[in-house]
């Protein structure tokens, strides 16, 4: 019997940059990585409990790689690993118990195995989002033709943006917009211009959490309802997004600029050669007025 209900897929991307979380632990604030993951598990369980057909996936975004915490690869190989963990004595819905255990185990493996190189506190979210989009693409192809599947991505961001990933990030955002996938953002520390643009372009929600301790509350209030239910709730207003372009020469934000017609690089001042693609431009010179030649009168 084909199910008439539509399937909602929620992909949660968690930023587990170890340097930022380590600094948090040193400052002895109340939000540590394990508390953050507890809040994520609460949101994941609530999402799966809302409807039998809802699906979940959790990805951790580490330094130079991203790992799928749930569903794991071994999940598909056979359900033998699931049997040990499913017997939790408190009568919890089996799927939720299995999900929680898998997430906890995988994150322990990820944090212990990956070695920390360098000391940058930026996160490369673009790659993780690209993998999330590929995953959503595969899942939506696995269902029958009649079933609708609605997907959205929730990004929980801790560290700052990395400016180098601007172009890849924009590619990912446009791909998500084309597939009608919402990108929501929950920012713990500093505002992120890239994520603000992503939420604006795809139609998702952007929120910078005022009190980190109450992460679970914000997640459940703002990010649990899906896009249809959001129109009936009072949610945080959209943030003002600065879409001004930055010029390639000084990195200033400009309101009027010059754009090269070949490579589309933006400059704040007119220059005869484009520095990116090295094409020489035709400069519009004012028309030269030729002076009239006066005929010399020959003395008669």
């Amino acid at each position: 019997m084909a199910s008439e209900e539509e399937i909602n897929l929620l992909v949660i991307v968690v930023d587990v940059n170890p340097i930022w979380w380590g600094q948090q632990a040193q400052r002895a604030t109340e939000l540590t990585l394990s508390k953050c993951l507890d809040a994520v598990m609460v949101l994941g369980n609530s999402h799966m409990a809302m409807s039998r057909t809802n699906k979940l996936s959790v990805i951790a975004s580490h330094f130079e790689d991203s790992h799928f915490l749930y569903p794991g690869k071994s999940w598909r190989m056979g359900d033998s690993c699931g049997d040990d963990a499913s017997s939790s004595g408190d009568g919890k819905y089996e799927l939720l118990a299995v999900a929680n255990n898998l997430i906890a185990e995988e994150i322990r493996k990820v944090m212990s195995k990956t070695e920390v190189r360098g000391n940058s506190t930026d996160t490369l979210l673009a790659g993780t989002l690209a993998k999330a989009l590929c995953y959503i693409n595969r899942v939506s192809k696995e269902f029958e033709v009649g079933q609708e599947i609605k997907s959205r991505i929730l990004v929980i961001k801790a560290a700052e943006d990395c400016a180098r990933q601007y172009m890849n990030f924009m590619n990912v955002i446009f791909a998500a917009q084309k597939q009608n996938i919402l990108i929501d953002a929950c920012v713990l520390d500093s505002d992120s211009g890239l994520l603000q643009q992503a939420c604006d372009i795809t139609g998702g929600l952007y929120l910078k959490i005022p009190q980190k301790v109450a992460l679970a509350q914000y997640l459940l209030w703002v990010f649990l309802p899906d896009s249809e239910q959001r129109s009936q709730l009072v949610l945080p207003p959209p943030a003002h997004v600065d879409y001004r372009a930055a010029c390639f020469c000084h990195r200033n934000l400009i309101e009027i600029g010059y754009v090269c017609s070949v490579c589309l690089s933006i400059f704040c001042n007119f220059s005869p050669i484009c520095t990116t693609c090295e094409t020489a431009f035709k400069i519009q010179l004012p028309q030269m007025v030729k002076p009239k030649k006066k005929k010399l009168k020959q003395p008669t």
Partner: protein, 392 residues
Amino acid sequence: MDEEPERTKRWEGGYERTWEVLKEDESGSLKATVEEILFQSKRKRVTESHGQVRLGMMRHLHLVVDCSRSMEDQDLKPNRLTASLKLIETFVEEYFDQNPISQLGIITTKNKRAEKLTDLAGNPKKHIVALKKAVDTVCLGEPSLYNSLHLAIQTLKHMPGHTSREILVILSSLTTCDPANICELIKTLKSLKVRVSVIGLSAEVRVCTVLTRETGGSYHVILDESHFKELLMLHVKPPPASSSSECSLIRMGFPQHIIASLTDQEAKPSFSMSHLDSSSGADLSLGGYFCPQCHAKYTELPVECKVCGLTLVSAPHLARSFHHLFPLQAFTESPTEQLQKDRFCQACQGELKDKSIFSCPSCCSVFCVECDLFIHDSLHCCPCCIHNQSNP
């Protein structure tokens, strides 16, 4: 006379034994062959990229649609006109998606005359509304190729030199009624550097072959509706720029989006300049985009300011075209049996069940055929390469 040798026509070749493509295996089932055909059709969609060729990013394209008697033919369901208009709507959306700073105009031709359906504009909504209304037009008479090209040239010749000037003709009739010598017009088109491409719905017509060959465009005749869609989508990608097109710095404005709420004391309601001409939609609104030069208000971008003539865009519009400038390399195909490691696709974490896998030449990660298609069609960047910190 012709400079190129004429291609041999299809009726001049021998018999094609098309039934030999299907081969049965021992049990008499065609399953393996059908899967192979599906796999090949998926692979065909990944087209070769141009490489380091300069592309014409700012395009001015005129679409000429034939509305003559032959469009009432029912070989495309329900009739040729309705099917074509529907596919053209999809084309218009894709065109503005891939070329956000370009413009499009639509011309119809019937009864030996040509008329403008919409002017050259950068906003897809106007075109789609006009196309939906055009479904009810009565098709009669003969089309006029000369008149429609002449009408298109009137606007295209005033366009600046750094833009690419193109005309795409969808011609279903086998005849055309021209008031003057079309060879003169072809010479004019060549001198104005206009590129004309034709999609024929009936059969190959010699005047179109000459027209497209002289101006540097392409000429195709459709086989069926899905082939028609493929041919239309080929024109969405920006074409290589001709060597004689000029490069210049274009002055553009990047307005801020002002969102004002009713409780804001300083917010003043104002009219949007783009709606002043039309009878509907001239409403007062609080927020919008204000031109940095003359502070005229607009509700949508990209637009050309009517007051001061400055082109207004936002940075994401330009960012949309970047993937044309830095195309993703095609992935190398190899059989699945050669893979030593776990058989999982590194992008979607699915099992690799197809007969071949694809690997990125720079980071050697392995992908399945669906992810390969998705990456090349929509994503335009390899998910594993962009994880590398040193990669800008």
